[in-house]
Symmetry: C4
Subunit: 367 residues, 4 copies
């Protein structure tokens, strides 16, 4: 704890940029590294979930991520459930030259209401692919559309907002009771974002199969500018990993997956997230760089189209290669944007670890 | 305390950029947040005072801020009390292309003397609007023009300088005795800027209804370059909040409002200021971005036109929208410049607080 | 140790940019400074080894470095052992205008297999010059080509990879057993890069005459972006210097040379490396700036041409002068890029030291 | 002390940019501030010495600084003592467009030998003005030209090099024995630069009237790049101020002036230097910005023309106004470059001090 003047104290918090992984005295063959990840009944080839963001995930790209060994998640309150055919809308967003005008355009196109029948139809498209089916809603839409989602019996229900708590208090109306909602569902629920020990612990107690750590959606700087709120990811993950351990003990053995969601610019950040205690990562911008990405070289999150208080921008991203090249390589760039899985495998090999769980103990330094 | 070499020690001080607010385990509905603020007999919809700076406040914009629920303050030693019709002067300032030439232009136009009759007339214009009437003088002009202001019985008298102390010492002449001045006035006085515990405590003892913390007027960098003086705002507010608590005790219950005045670039900084202990904020640059602002896309403070030692620049600001949009939204930008009140409401909701006083206890991290 | 959240701790690590050498109360004549360095049976005029990187070292430049008093090292798995005449390949690399396209070009030209007969021929060219003969392989090529190198009986065998450990573990195949390899060789072996106490100690125990500290090859930022791995050099050297001292004790007097390899931008960094505990430095980019350098104004390391996960870029370097001017001066630039040896001599003189060993005790400050 | 890895420790050092002066609870009238400074028998209006750098000081500008109340110092081994008429040389230096070519031009023109008769003539020009007469040599030229300077009986002899020690050791030749030299002179000697407690203490014991702290001449970054040496000024001044105090005690009352020489970009830095313990400052770049400055918009120090290892650049500086405006105002810029004396007066007034000696106790914060 540091003193900020005479009446306030604060902990120093660290972002991924503040830390690095250090080599250990043993190295291993990359072929001996095992990246498999299991959450609830689902086993994936590696611990990567695609973020349910319109710029990255269409039904087609969500299916493709599944085919490549990860988990695709469709945003069930985005353009695909507001528009029968959202492609012209994506085109219109990409056509706006100016970043400020883009905010207004996003506010405009997302004013279109969500159609329950489109939620059902999109989930059927995913189901038809044979891949795992996962869709997301924000907390404020769960009461209205949660049962629609439930009827399609997806494999995962993601409840994802900028800041989610298990104790949302409202004087008027009925707020979402996350614990009750999760317990009545047959589907495993992943919920977040959160960024501190107590919120995470409450979400674990509410029955979540996984908690998302971070604000998600590339909106970190905007959230800091608009709300003054930020929790740097390295510290946040370390705190939530402690909540996981404490909850594991208090629950007599229920292991809740900790999923880093935000500030993950490339493969180096993915490795750091795991070394800080995450079990898996949720990726937005890195996948929006795929040739198949619906965003056509642009990336935005749900914060970017808030009607009265947008907290994110439409940002430009380079289009680098196919989803397969981005996830599995080969890479032709030395910046951590391609062959994300190969890079993670190499980091574990270089530091002598064979699996994610043991890699969470990797040594860090502060830069 | 850190050692700076062998013979000097210093505390680490923190600016708003060094800190962030962290979420708590509870969230609330933004509709349940109460931002009302009371200073002396005056109740405002939210704790925002417009800074008495010519680039932002004309009689018309001061009235408009009041109409929108805040408190407008007119600079009573600026262009509106030096010129019968200052509009051509504003035009001339905006017409200077070069920032260095602008300093000379400011020095030139502010060489025109202050007219007591214009002070009276401007205050009458404010009074006629039905909104709260508030005007400011710098300490050096209080002796000469204070009584002129007093005769108009404004609702607030703001004594605002770059660095104000309750113990100004002069060998020759009669310096302003702030305590005596405040006690003889019928009008509540807000006084500053100050930046440390002791100065603030003395200003509180002198009878101020509120103390301004900070140098004000966007002149922070220039003050550091020219004088070597700076007190980062997060630490300064925390120190002055401690003085407020100590004075509350020693006075047997007089609560002096702590008002952050400076380094407030947008809504994120406003939230941080309150979380560091401020009761309210005084805004310059954010309001100079209004379409109604007299500065026409430029912003400057009183330091910028000092005749022999200017300590601030005429800076360019983007013109973003009406005062109403800037204060109350809706926002079309994710940078904290619009819907300042909505953003503050959202920060409190996201961190689980329903009022400013409890939000002062919000948890911070160091970035 | 600092807390990174509740479940993780880390040491603060320092790079050369974080430290500076401080003057002492005595100064000396630069002429009285003795920079001679001895490793195994070899005595050099100053403690500088040229890095075996294709952009800097051809047979001709390796010989020239020797003639000038340092030690040249040829990369025995680079373009000179893949191509009979690599000059057109160097031209082709330099002709690619775009940095991203350059990565693909490097991947392409380095796909050509290594020819054992070219290894032998290049070493013969070096031998014919009368200078010390030194060549390098990466660990993964030692098993296949190590005996070819050995047959040419070079004066030094450098085993150099991005991250080398004495305990490489592989489930399948036979990994390189460094200790056994070194013990069977008649030639002294320099091995690295490593970056921590334990790895360095194991490499010392394996019989290395010198250990390379750092990732080498200008790939620091890329390694951090791609793998999340970094060990800032000032701290890494200090750690490995401690291993040297401990191994000196446990071995009853075997002094293993600690050689800084990486992050050495110019003469200031060379001085800092020695003051952090290094006995010598291995230079890549500084020598790639020579008019004789094969890279023709470009510089790259082995990480830059990895087939599926490149971790370095082809970077542009200014061509400044001859190898002689760069190493021995005179300098016409005040940026530490020329007269590297003269600068080092001046640093020792300015801080009162007459030899490298005592200069390792020089006082540092944190900037 | 911080650990840099396992075998090295270092103190954190602070530059002027790391610190700021904080206001105190008392303010004063600027008219009540007394800036007079006395060194040996000489009283100046304010504690400012002009640095003996060719770009700033000609005989004419040295005289003008004296006329304005400060102390001008002429470089006695620069262009004015190498050339009968140096004006064409200054023109030639300014005419070189490229910064790298400028280094070669400086090396070329300073290859011209120093003429003893010109030393005598320049000192006579200064004497004729009626102002204080002060000239400088570097330590390496004192043995050869010191007696020439002495014969002209200047009021001050400045011995100024990049790094000066009282214990220069040389195996061959006779090094300068500063203590003996100073004791045999009738003229008070100011000597430096130094940057640490021990060197400063030895220079004080050698009999110096003042010690220069810092590397001088704007060469800080180049010295760091080339030699790896730097001592941030805030810490260095604090250390040397401690040496002053200890020497005051051990000498039974001899007070040696501590003069900050380097990193002084403007008036804010001057104030910080005094608040860190300096008694006075020596200014180069700020005076090179004068219309009268011989450098014609360029600035360089003696390090910039070293024949084999230059450690400074010819840098561009804006030409802002006359020496009088720069020193005494009025200022038309809010960046600390004009009205240096007025700014210093204002800093003392704003923080409640009336003289430099008490201002050395001013409170600092770390930014």
């Amino acid at each position: 704890m540091q003193d900020i003047g005479m009446s306030k104290r604060a902990e120093q918090a660290y972002s991924f940029d503040d830390v690095a992984i250090v080599p250990a005295r043993r190295t291993r063959d990359a072929r001996d590294v095992d990246l498999h990840w299991k959450i609830d009944a689902v086993a994936l080839d590696y611990p990567i979930i695609a973020a349910p963001m319109d710029s990255a995930m269409s039904p087609a790209t969500a299916i493709e991520v599944g085919r490549l060994g990860g988990l695709g998640v469709l945003n069930l309150e985005g353009l695909w459930t507001r528009y029968e055919d959202p492609l012209p809308v994506f085109e219109a967003i990409a056509a706006v030259p100016d970043v400020f005008a883009a905010t207004r355009k996003l506010q405009e196109v997302y004013a279109e209401p969500i159609k329950p029948e489109l939620i059902t139809r999109r989930l059927e498209e995913l189901r038809a692919s044979g891949q795992w089916v996962a869709g997301s809603l924000s907390p404020k839409n769960v009461l209205q559309f949660g049962h629609v989602v439930e009827q399609s019996t997806p494999d995962f229900f993601i409840v994802r907002g900028a800041l989610v708590s298990a104790q949302h208090v409202a004087v008027e109306g009925t707020p979402l009771d996350l614990a009750k909602f999760i317990q009545t569902l047959d589907v495993p629920v992943i919920v977040g974002g959160c960024a501190d020990y107590h919120t995470a612990l409450h979400l674990m107690r509410a029955g979540a199969a996984g908690v998302l750590v971070g604000f998600g959606g590339g909106a970190r700087h905007a959230t800091l500018s608009v709300l003054g709120i930020e929790v740097p990811m390295a510290s946040a993950l370390s705190d939530v990993a402690e909540a996981r351990r404490d909850y594991l003990d208090e629950s007599g053995g229920r292991y809740v997956q900790v999923i880093a969601d935000g500030s993950l610019g490339g493969s180096g950040d993915i490795a750091k997230a795991l070394a800080c205690g995450a079990d898996a990562v949720m990726l937005g911008a890195p996948l929006a760089r795929a040739t198949e990405a619906p965003g056509r070289g642009y990336h935005w999150g749900a914060e970017a189209w808030h009607a009265t208080l947008p907290r994110g921008w439409r940002t430009h991203v380079d289009t680098l290669g196919t989803l397969e090249q981005i996830l599995l390589g080969p890479s032709h760039r030395a910046d951590g944007t391609m062959n994300l899985v190969g890079a993670l495998r190499q980091t574990l090999a270089s530091t002598g670890y064979t699996d994610i769980k043991s890699f969470q103990r990797a040594e860090l330094v502060l830069l």
